[in-house]
């Protein structure tokens, strides 16, 4: 340890030096780290990103996924990402903006993806979450349901599930719920 101030040092000095310094908004560790994540993004051709608040606010952005195979082929699904100031200590908050008939996404847009919650780990990145979301569309998992009805149909009758997905994406009703067109 070192001696930082002497007895004779007066508070005036500190106040004077403070006046000369321009107030700078400090960048939070979350912003710093997401800068790294975004600068290294490697998006598949089915995925795109946009920044509604401009290039210097990377804490909020949208990811658009357009699956080119599987049940959801041809659909367009938008996810909002909210990154906390202490990211990656905390996982990003991700919601699906597009109303979708999916066993792991409920009608309010909550997403059941393990790495978004219980399996989040600071070595994961925005890229890992995007992979996870893409995977949800290729391989919906009826064993971890958030939309109970959709999971049951997928388990019992995959063909019916496929029809329901098609109908919902075309802008129709499934089980009394209306889904806006997203093809």
């Amino acid at each position: 340890m070192i001696k930082l101030f002497s007895v004779k040092q007066k508070q005036k000095e500190a106040a004077e030096s403070a006046n000369g310094r321009a107030p700078v908004k400090k960048q939070s560790p979350g912003e710093l780290r997401v800068q790294k994540d975004i600068s290294e993004l490697n998006l598949a051709k089915t995925t795109s990103i946009s920044f509604p608040n401009g290039k210097d606010n990377l804490l909020n952005f949208e990811i658009t996924i357009r699956p080119d195979e599987g049940y959801y082929q041809g659909g367009t699904f938008v996810f909002t990402f909210q990154i906390s100031q202490v990211y990656p200590h905390e996982a990003p908050k991700v919601k699906c903006k597009t109303k979708v008939y999916h066993p792991n996404i409920d009608l309010e847009g909550n997403v059941c993806l393990n790495i978004l919650r219980e399996d989040w780990n600071p070595v994961l990145s925005v890229n890992s979450i995007i992979y996870g979301l893409q995977y949800l569309f290729l391989d919906p998992n009826p064993d971890d349901p958030l939309n109970h009805e959709a999971a049951e149909v997928l388990r019992e009758n995959p063909r019916q599930f496929e029809n329901n997905v098609r109908r919902s994406m075309a802008g129709g009703y499934v089980g009394g719920n209306h889904f806006p067109r997203c093809i």
Binding site: L4, F5, K8, V24, P29, S39, V86
Partner: protein, 459 residues
Amino acid sequence: MKKRKGEDEPWAPEPEVMAETTDIEGRWRDLDRLLLRPGILVGPGFEPGIDTRDMIRNDCRVLVIGAGGLGCELLKDLALTGFGNLEVIDMDTIDVSNLNRQFLFRMRDVGQPKAKIAAERVMERVKGVNVVPHYCRIEDKDSSFFDQFQIIVLGLDSLEARSYINAVVCGFLEYEPDGSPILTTIKPMVDGGTEGFKGHARVIIPGMTPCFQCSMWLFPPQVTFPLCTLAETPRSPAHCIEFVHLIQWGQDRTGETFDPDNPEHMKWIYEQAAKRAEQYSISGVTYSLTQGVVKNIIPAIASTNAIVAATCALETLKIATMCSKGMEVFMQYTGTDGVYMRTFQNEKDPNCIVCSAGVPVEVEATTTLQKFIDVLLKDSRFKNKISKPSVSLQGENLYMQAPPILEEETRPNLLRPLRTLMGGEGGILNINDKRLKGILRVQVIFKTTDVDMDTAGGG
């Protein structure tokens, strides 16, 4: 043994003593034992004498952040220790549930700003101390506010707030070209934290000891439950509460933003969670558990606050006066295992994104960003470490290699000179690259040439 009046009970309400202009007899006895005599355990540069006492009394300014459970203890301890100029910042108002441990507050204060009442009470009780309250968020103050203080003491309960202050305070730190911190730019922090029977105190001397970011891993991540478990197979009262909080709110109260400080919202969460718990035959959902789960609060224990605050106040005194060597550097207290405390020294992260020095790179101020990137790529210190660097200045992305929309938007900056992009003083640029594990901090130093001098001085 008969005690002399006031000596051992400075808190006894004796207004006639308060009104006197001279100090209570024995007021400085203990402090003087520490400050007036030399010793073998003192820190480097300790200057025993009355000047040191006067310094903490008159010149040393200490900021306390937070006027809650820890903050009340800290203000009381620092004032009684002898610090004469305190300021306190807190954005909260007093709630009736605070009164059991936030002992500066009374029933009649409910609804008033914590900072204001805490400052008033300490000044009433401890003669000769000046406490200035700030009823606002820490983000409302600019960095020059924080720079006025010699020492900043944190009595916070949130990771975000600590992380923010840490970034502000480490932002004052400057390094010599040889990588050693410039002493006059160091602003020490003392950080206290409590969670139930557990607590910690630590000393952060930016540039010398690990900063908050260097040791973020010491904080356990928040417990989260899988959403599908909450929705399908709740097994605990917390599962029921989290379900209502995270999922049912959005279903039943579409369009309304949940506000944890709105009692009606909290009551609704509690009632719905209780219903859900009943459906699944789970017992134990209470209003206070609901608050705890939703706000992620663990009940506060007054004695933990007292122990942690006392440690922090003592470390503050040591840093200010060097009357003893400081704690190195992290103290943990675990009240559930008896009165168990241990200190340990953890390592500073040499590549910390907040407090590390940054690798110095000297260039002309007229160098364009593209040329600067070329300089980095040719620099042997970064060989094989960077290939396609992105460059940011604080929150401003000067050049991003990805994604394509940002690359396109930032590309025009490549032709701009650094002087235009970052001002004439140089500073720290953050470099991101796939090959780098973390963020590379580069300290840009502008070469001063005669030509530049002439243009600057001419006219």
